[in-house]
């Protein structure tokens, strides 16, 4: 049995063998925000924070997470109040099919926490591991760029 915190709440999970944190989040804890696409760390749609670091949850073995703190896309908003990254993406039309959106929200929220004034190049590099197969990068970068302190 694994004990960890997920979005600030104490949780336990009983992973089957070496299953990934992504599988545990979705299939055992009912947190479907983290998306399951490539399962090889290529697409970023399962991005979460593990002990404050941005990682692909598909590449984390749940059995190795005992005692860790996990934040998923469900933990990014403050209750019903959207995170400013979510607000900006909604207002900026930075969502097409939406499949990559949770991973981009987690990665972008994490970026702005450490670097409040990213340039467009910084944003593109920080999101390089998050693939949008609608190719909607322009709207995403414009929406998020407007949040940068450089934009004010």
């Amino acid at each position: 049995m694994i004990r960890f915190t997920v979005n600030g709440a104490e949780r336990t999970a009983d992973p089957v063998g070496p299953e990934s944190l992504l599988t545990t989040l979705r299939d055992r804890l009912g947190l479907y925000g983290s998306k399951d696409a490539c399962e090889q760390g290529e697409c970023g749609s399962c991005s979460v924070l593990l002990d404050g670091e941005l990682v692909c949850s598909c590449l984390v073995m749940t059995a190795d997470t005992d005692g860790s703190a996990v934040v998923t896309v469900e933990g990014i908003a403050d209750g019903d109040t959207l995170h400013r990254v979510q607000q900006a993406m909604a207002e900026g039309g930075a969502v097409q099919c939406g499949f990559c959106t949770p991973g981009i929200v987690v990665a972008a929220a994490h970026l702005f926490e450490a670097h409040p004034d990213p340039s467009e190049e910084d944003l593109r590099e920080a999101l390089a591991g998050n693939i949008c197969r609608c190719t909607g990068y322009g709207a995403i970068v414009r929406a998020l760029g407007a949040l940068s302190e450089r934009a004010e």
Binding site: G17, P18, E19, S20, E39, Q40, G41, E42, G44, S47, E53, L54, V55, C56, C58, L59, V60, M61, A63, D64, D66, A107, E125, A126, A128, G129, N130
Partner: protein, 267 residues
């Protein structure tokens, strides 16, 4: 599945001594792909990402648990450049130097840096410690000299590292690519030059004839620089695969070698 989560090296080595066939898990960026694609079903795992001794970066010793993110912000520019080319920030936050050595892929991005510096790989088991030069440790494509019960503790670099250094990697985009070819070059003020390349042989390789030629040129002429690139292209032994052709890899290796030499000469 048995899982050990040691926080200290002694405990990790005890766990491996008790269960030498246990699967060693560091950042998971290679291992979990095998798990997810049903190529690997470990019976027992020793997770080493909490082992504090493996996080150490003391002068010229880099612990096996140091992530690419730390290398990217570390004091060795060529290693920082190599680390920045790895995957994405998600991958760089998880993947480690020890994992790059453990996987021993010909395309391991940090490996040409270790090869060009003749790094020593430090291995430890409950029975003791041994140190192998990088080319004694990496024995073939995805093969290394690690024995059951042993752990990669880190890499020891030479005391003196020339400030003239550069790394470059060729792929179809800047992020999330496995190298078509990669190249790392160091040059001392007396001209002594080392160059190593990845993805163009069964292991990372050194271009010794090219090194010898250019090391004798105190102030290389354009002709000498061109000859250096030509020799490097001759010395690599690439293959055709789904990422590139052998012919293109050979050509690109020579171009990268020439460019890196020009880059370190003009700084």
């Amino acid at each position: 599945m048995e899982t050990a989560r040691p926080t200290h090296l002694d405990a990790a080595l005890d766990a491996l001594d008790a269960d030498p066939d246990a699967t060693i898990l560091a950042g998971g960026t290679d291992l979990m792909v095998s798990v997810n694609y049903h190529a690997l079903r470990p019976a027992s795992v020793v997770g080493i990402r909490r082992v504090v001794e493996l996080q150490e970066w003391e002068g010229r010793f880099i612990g096996a648990g140091v992530t690419y993110t730390r290398m990217e912000h570390g004091p060795i520019p060529a290693l920082a450049q190599a680390a920045r080319t790895v995957g994405s920030s998600q991958i760089r936050n998880a993947g480690t130097l020890g994992g790059n050595l453990g996987t021993a892929s010909p395309a391991g991005d940090a490996l040409p840096v270790l090869a060009a510096l003749d790094a020593k790989i430090v291995l430890r088991s409950k029975g003791g410690e041994r140190t192998l030069r990088w080319d004694e440790f990496i024995t073939g494509p995805k093969r290394n000299a690690l024995q059951p019960g042993e752990l990669i503790v880190g890499a020891r670099l030479p005391e003196s590292i020339p400030p003239r250094q550069a790394f470059a990697k060729l792929g179809i985009r800047n992020a999330m690519v496995i190298a078509i070819t990669s190249c790392c070059l160091f040059r001392e003020e007396d001209g002594t030059t080392t160059i190593a390349l990845g993805s163009v042989g069964p292991t990372p390789i050194r271009a010794h004839r090219a090194e010898e030629m250019i090391s004798g040129e105190a102030d290389p002429s354009p002709a000498a620089i061109a000859e250096f690139g030509r020799l490097v292209a001759q010395e690599v032994s690439p293959i055709d695969d789904h990422r590139s052709t052998a012919a293109y890899r050979r050509h690109a290796s020579g171009v990268l070698a020439r460019r890196l030499l020009e880059r370190v000469l003009t700084r």
